[in-house]
Amino acid sequence: MGKIMLSTQDTAIIPREWYNVVPDLPKQLPPPVDRDEKNSSIQLLNQILPKTILKQEFTFQRYTKIPEEVQEIYAQIGRPTPLFRAHGLEKALDYHGKILIKYEGATITGSHKINTAIPQAFYARDEGSTGVVTETGAGQWGTATTVAASLAGITSKIFMVKVSFNQKPLRKEIMELYGGEIVPSPSMETEFGRQLLAKVPEHPGTLGIAISEAVEYALEHDLKYMLGSVFNSVLTHQSVIGLESEKQLEILGEEPDVMIGCVGGGSNFGGFVFPLMKKFKETKIFASTASEVPKFTKGEYKYDYVDTAKTLPSIKMYTLGSDFVPEKIYAGGLRYHGAAPSISMLVNSGRIKSSDVTEDQVIDALKLFARTQGIVAAPESGHAIATAIEYVKANRDSKETILVNVSGHGLLDMSIFQR
């Protein structure tokens, strides 16, 4: 049998250390800053994040040991994830180079989000917290959080944007099944929520509001708040994607000429690309985003708030403005207005190229991928696949090896095809 599945799901491939790109960036990473002289949002992080996360966020070790227990849980949740050659897609595109897929949808929660949820929940537990709190929009992050908390033996509370809560009953279901407590946001459980509801009883909620509620709830109840993306510590945890890929490519004897991933906050992209960029210095790198959220092409590279509610610090990034209201695209995870500082820096320097793809391109890409590879990819990941297809069409004779990170499966998001 040919080498079609380039991965060996051998736990020896699971990295023992996370990789942090910051010491290897060409320039210094602009740190998170406070905008408000009275209430330091960085100080706030201090109160709501596990100490270990804060350390990882602000002190930049190139390598950080992954706790043994987290390594074991990584194995349990499906790491290493497969890296395989997409023969079916190559054939359908009549491409004579290679298309390799790293597939994070093979984790038990169906996306890369679990890679950072696990250490965050375990650190919280280790530091004596009885539970974690976070917000979720589309639901992927909330799902990962509930699983991680249950595996750590602590509680989880998820503020879910009310409109999603109502539209996606299955997401609520799965999070509850995983032992989480799900609250539609705005809720009556926080001061912030109560005030909002007093003014607008039927408020549909936003991610910004949900963040504010989660942070307030964490503060009030002495729980830890979980970071879903954007932050450097999250990208560091996600480096398992790229580190595994590196070993898998080595086993296979392949070197990527092109690397492609999708960018919401940037965590799957950074986690995938950074460890590989260190080794494969000449690769072309594409960050795929939604045309409806053209952060790199229409956004500005500047300090901006992480969240709409301006509760969390400002960071220097490509941003469409923290009050940017994206179109209601199906790829909920790509609606974020900004992108992680490290990725933004490299897009700004030109090292990373960006590619906006349309909803139609994505749907076509998802269909083609499903029919040729048998995988229903997440709508977010569909962007990376669409960018890869576009690249192949424009470079048909290049015979390059294209490595694509498919960040999740789309089994719980199939309603997007009902149009």
């Binding site: 010491p23 990473l29 602009p30 740190p31 406070d34 201090n46």
Partner: protein, 259 residues
């Protein structure tokens, strides 16, 4: 503890551990002068004077607050008065100024600072926001006086090596990305990194140092000195010269007890 030394000699030079930071004209020209008069040359190695700024992005909330007040009092000609007091004690003064001024005034600004009595300048946002300028501006500054590289744990290795090779001066290493906020960090890890990268260089640590205990610990890890800023603001606000003197004494004691 492996080694702890507050006054130690490297080659011929006797080194002292403490570096103090003050924002110029805060809380007033007079009060600041009285504090500078009280600086103890037995323990203080250098003094940094921050040039007031409307948006001191990389300062923490405590120092930030001093800037907005200081801006109201600030007169460029006060600077020479401060450096004068320090000069009489034999303590070199270094200016801390954001890049914007160099952007406006070019290397003439360095000349101005030199003329105001400073031995060198620290530009906290240069490598973060204007690193493409650094290759040009650093040699220009070095023609005039010392350029003090300001690194922190977020500074990439490559940049640390490149920039420090452009100057022979001491190096300011911020333990945190922003001062005045308690972000937990592993002191040993953070220190080892810079000491390993730049063996033999004089590296002084700053940002987020809160207690005399921490000072001892940092020195014991091999740092050449420790910069203190936010910690002094309370003394300044309270015009507590006595407290300030006691603080300097306590640093001496930490050192003495460990020697």
């Amino acid at each position: 503890m492996a080694f702890l030394t507050c006054q130690f000699s490297r080659g011929e030079i006797l080194l002292k551990p403490l570096i103090l930071y003050f924002t110029a004209d805060y809380p007033s020209t007079e009060i600041l002068k009285s504090f500078l008069e009280a600086v103890d040359p037995d323990v203080v190695k250098y003094v940094e004077i921050g040039i007031p700024e409307s948006n001191p992005l990389y300062d923490g909330p405590t120092i930030k607050a001093t800037h907005s007040l200081a801006l109201k009092n600030y007169k460029p000609n006060h600077l020479a008065e401060y450096t004068g007091i320090l000069g009489r004690k034999g303590i070199p003064a270094f200016a801390l100024s954001y890049y914007e001024k160099f952007n406006k005034l070019g290397s003439g600004y360095a000349t101005f600072l030199k003329d105001a009595g400073f031995s060198g300048v620290i530009i906290p946002d240069l490598l973060t926001d204007y690193s493409e300028e650094s290759d040009r501006i650093i040699p220009e500054i070095e023609e005039i006086f010392s350029f003090i590289p300001f690194f922190n744990p977020a500074t990439p290795d490559g940049l640390i090596n490149a920039v420090s090779s452009l100057t022979g001066s001491w190096i300011y290493y911020g333990l945190q990305p922003s001062t005045g906020i308690d972000i937990p960090f592993d002191l040993e890890e953070v220190s080892r990194r810079i000491l390993d990268l730049l063996p033999g260089r004089e590296i002084n640590f700053g940002f987020g140092i809160r207690t005399t205990g921490q000072i001892g610990e940092i020195l014991s890890l091999g740092s050449s000195g420790v910069a203190i800023g936010s910690l002094l603001v309370q003394y300044l606000n309270d015009k507590d010269l006595e407290g300030f003197r006691k603080f300097q004494e306590s640093v001496k004691e930490v050192c003495a007890s460990a020697e």
